[in-house]
Amino acid sequence: MPVSSSTTDRSARLTRWLVTAPPAVFLVIFFLIPALIMAGASFREPGEFGGLAPLAESGPSLDAYRFILDDVIYAWILAKSFAIAGLTTVICLLFAYPLAMLIVRSPKRQRDVFILLVILPFASNFLIRIYAWMIILGPLDLLYSPVAVVVGMVYVHLPFMILPLYTNLEKHDPALLEAAQDLGAGKWAGFWRVTWPLSLPGVLSGSSLVFIPVLGMFAVPELLGGTGDLLMGNLIKEQFLDNRDWPLGAALSLLLTLAVLAVAGLSAVLTRNRGQT
């Protein structure tokens, strides 16, 4: 929509700044800068009563990182977090795929109802959803175990897998499956060779929406898991609120950020390679 002469050009540019600046400035101040502060904090020493030591007293230090590298338990917890995230993602996929397929095959009006029914449980506070499982798993003697943690993670994140999958499957041209059938493919082959490959962008999208948040969760392991089931999120929370060793907490957060960026980057590369988005 770029338009005409110099006077309108100037006012167009002014409009552009007036509209873009307020949200941008707000986010720079309250998102970008805090992120940078957090990165910087990881290179500081902890204060006497918690928090950060004033810069004047102690210069930058790598203590926090040395701490992490020294103790193998940190690597172990990071690995466990990845494992739980992966397991959760796969289970969500197994639940979500048939559901999404069924919704797509339903007539238009029913589809909206089905989708609404998917979103509604999402409407409840996620603490409530965890609490619900505490009630159910308690008597079953499954509470405070890795199983409970996975169940909780899946329950909280399932809608995030269903919606992108559904959005993708909805766009599939039904003629493609018919063409496959016409050329001799049975139902299973039709699925594997046509539907599944075409749905991969949706699968990737949903997987990112599940995997990444799970990596950082602490409430689910804390309420549903035993003391041996702590994940990255719990560690970070501990450092910031219980131990008040902020540099260590910041370093762990940075680690988590890198892990998240790696996953996001991988997902972006995979999506681009397929030639579709």
Partner: protein, 361 residues
Amino acid sequence: MALLEIRSITRRFGKLEAVKNVSLDIESGQFFTLLGPSGCGKTTILRMIAGFDQPDEGELYLDGQPLADIPPERRPVHTVFQSYALFPHLTVSGNIAFPLEMAGRSRDEIRRRTGEALALVHLEDKGDAFPHELSGGQKQRVALARGLVNKPRLLLLDEPLGALDAKLRERMQGELIALQREVGVTFVFVTHAQQEALALSHRIAVMNEGRIEQLDVPEALYCTPKSRFVADFIGTINLISAEVLEADRHGLRLDAAGLGEIAAPPLASAVAGMRGALAVRPEHLRIAGHAERIGLKNHFSGTVGESLYRGDVTVYKVRLDNGLLLEALATNAGPGRARFHEIGDRVSIEWRHDAGVFLDH
């Protein structure tokens, strides 16, 4: 003074010159068309008239006033967009009333003129409908009414009939002509469909690669094209390479390689020794069986390569004995069943000494 004067405008996008030094005048009350293939610059010129783009060089004048620093909303020029661009949140009446509201007209005047506009395009009972409830042809008409209600000096139409199916398109063409004559507003029409341009326009500017190839009335463009591009772009044409042997005010004598002598109508700029091509329309080529003769000045023998029956006419592609392929159109209008020539038949192709036009480029 013409209504719209375009003087030597040039528009560049990076390295590409979309419009190269174009000048033209559009008189008031005309149906003027910019015709050409995609990318020839016609839409760019339209946008510059509307104000959504500025020329890098040159000026535009409306009623003698320069348009240079006037933004689109202040130009007395309205556009009918290719996608119609109807406001989805307003009714048909709301859409049509929009320009009147922008111009600050009184409530009564708006109501009156909206009603008149609806009647003009025969949509009186659709005033309260929303755009998504209308058919393509109806949306088209709302867009027209909306563009005309404010009585602009110019109405610009950007390939408005492109999205319609063939029959509807033909009907809308007729309605457009009637509308323009009735309202008297000057139309500037952009299209790549040459038959449409011929049917609708008073004058046509044929464009190619940013330049105007020829600006003329439809008959002149069709019968006396001035370049190969125009000859080929409009309708179908046969081009026979030839050299001028003799030229006077009665006609030309041409020599076509491998064919022999051809008689052609006179051309003022032709001189002996000039090379070029004779452009002849398929409907001027008469086809007859090998043994028969119609008796026209130019006659050559050949074999039928293709025969395409189209109901009202049959198109023959005939390969002359020297290898040249000519297209001839035969009307199937004779009494009783028409006589058809089969593929492989030997036939005679003939045309009049004053048919066609000699093109030197």
